[in-house]
Symmetry: C2
Subunit: 336 residues, 2 copies
């Protein structure tokens, strides 16, 4: 039963006593076909177990019904959720999803996207960190490209963005209210759009008072939490805002192991509100990003762009702060 003797539309046509065109019409419903012929065709299709050769369809129609998605790291639950949602949303419209993972290597983002664009009807770029010029060049391929969590100076490209500012401001004000005055923002890559937004929000909320803010970016693939924890202690920070829940949890676990109490000695907040945030002890103060909604919105935009390539869409969701146990009143007792 090799691939060679697959039924073709020609064979079906012969069996049904009609032309290939008629078979095509019946199967695609693109035109009316007489009931008699339709039945003959469907009979032959069933009898031969025929199903159209997708690649041939693609070539003839110029559509692949595949979209591509490029993520920096599929291991990150945030992107996993986004991709999963994208898969299900697009599956409802009979699209399939080709997933590429840049492993946080900025230079590969665009080449992955270019490769995908050659096979797909459109590409979703998640949290890209390449420079504007390189990213905008992707839109020259005449296929829809949607940028998630990235803003451009031009508004001519489609974007779907989570506004993390308000939540980050709320969290910052929250720890200020708890008495903290030396606050570190830990994690994130400097070129990341969302990270820039978070840091700006922290600065906005922390401005004025006798507050000291520290930014501790992470650019290694596997960060050394021990050295970050030491830095935090050296800087005498009593509150740490992390760029995501994984970072918050890792740092909290490291500090705990070093004998530092969380949140007794140091308050810690995460970001993303992954399930982890509520499982962890202490449960994390964090910000909820409706990632699945973002996936939904991304597919809405992409599907419209596929239908009408001139479409430009700008979607915006807003993250909201969630307060739990990992942030507490600043203690005055000395740390060991």
């Amino acid at each position: 039963m090799s691939d060679h003797n697959r039924a073709t539309i020609r064979l079906v046509a012969r069996h049904a006593g009609v032309s290939p065109a008629t078979v095509s019409r019946v199967l695609s419903g693109s035109r009316q076909v007489s009931a008699i012929n339709r039945d003959k065709v469907l009979g032959a299709v069933a009898e031969l177990g025929y199903s159209p050769h997708i690649t041939a369809q693609n070539l003839a129609t110029g559509q692949s019904r595949i979209i591509g998605v490029v993520v920096p790291d599929l291991s990150n639950p945030h992107f996993t959720t986004l991709v999963k949602r994208l898969i299900h949303a697009s599956a409802a419209d009979s699209y399939e999803v080709l997933v590429a993972d840049s492993d946080e290597v900025v230079d590969t983002e665009c080449s992955l996207a270019t490769d995908l664009l050659r096979r797909c009807d459109g590409v979703v770029m998640c949290n890209p960190r390449a420079d504007d010029q390189a990213l905008l060049a992707l839109t020259e391929h005449d296929k829809p490209v949607l940028f998630v969590n990235r803003r451009f100076t031009t508004s001519e490209v489609s974007t779907a963005i989570t506004d993390v500012g308000p939540a980050m401001e709320d969290i910052t004000r929250h720890v200020l209210d708890l008495g903290h005055r030396r606050i570190a923002y830990v994690g994130g890559r400097v070129q990341s759009y969302l990270d820039t937004q978070r840091w700006s929000a922290i600065q906005r909320a922390g401005a004025g008072d006798d507050v000291e803010l520290f930014r501790l970016p992470i650019d290694e693939h596997i960060p050394s939490w021990t050295s970050i924890a030491k830095t935090v202690l050296d800087l005498e920070c009593t509150a740490v805002l992390a760029n995501n829940d994984i970072g918050a949890v890792s740092l909290a676990a490291t500090l705990t192991r070093m004998g530092v109490d969380v949140p007794g000695d140091i308050s810690i907040a995460g970001f993303d509100d992954t399930p982890l945030a509520s499982w962890f002890t202490p449960a994390l103060t964090t910000a909820r990003i409706r990632t699945d909604e973002l996936g939904e919105v991304a597919w809405d935009a992409m599907s419209q762009m596929i239908v009408d390539p001139s479409t430009v869409i700008h979607s915006m969701l807003v993250a909201t702060a969630v307060f739990r146990e990992s942030t507490a009143t600043r203690s005055t007792r000395p740390r060991h």
Copy 2:
């Protein structure tokens, strides 16, 4: 700049003053071409910014250089890791990965796989739970199908399996050594191959003594950990072995919230050794599955099967127990 005025191989040929076949040969390296013509072709390619139309290539060659993978739940870090590894391993051979997610719905596994098989050069089915017959039918499509973590009575289909038995036996003996005599196995779907293996291992290790074993499967999508916790308490189990880390952590968190001490009152073990297992407090006793290695092995097998469709491969990895803080000596003090 519409898709219509993309350069074709014909145009390149004309610009270079050669035939399309020569252009094809230069680009694919399938045959020697004179240096002069090669340069002319490469020049024209550069000048026109030509890149081959992949779909047309696919149709002509009968290969897509895409593989498909079907997972029950991409949110599960275990599958995320597997898929990520598969993406990177196959990318090294210029393959791309189409991801489908069955959302734990057994009935959709095979139809997703069938859809993928029509576009892909091969499909990897992860932890499928459909019945043997339905799964084996997938191999009739004359495209390579690799089954991960599933065994069949026939050995004619390719498989890549993690042997979870030894680790589960070790963990069971470990809690027996700690004095536990009423032990529950929580989580997992009854039809899951790995779950069956785990439960058998527990039974093997727990046989003989005055030991009571309970199997508490989970078949809801979002399990009620509270009611599971109650069941565990009602059964007076002092040790709970979970089918994965997420389950262990969820249950542990729930019990803690109910005032039960882990591991003071109840010992808990996970499975998979995800990062979560070491972050969690108490750090989880669990079993390490080298999921990335499994992804690697899966691609090795798949790539060989693509080259030679008659290839049948059976790969086996072995999970190993990891002992941490979440399992402890059975306490004799009464529970509240």
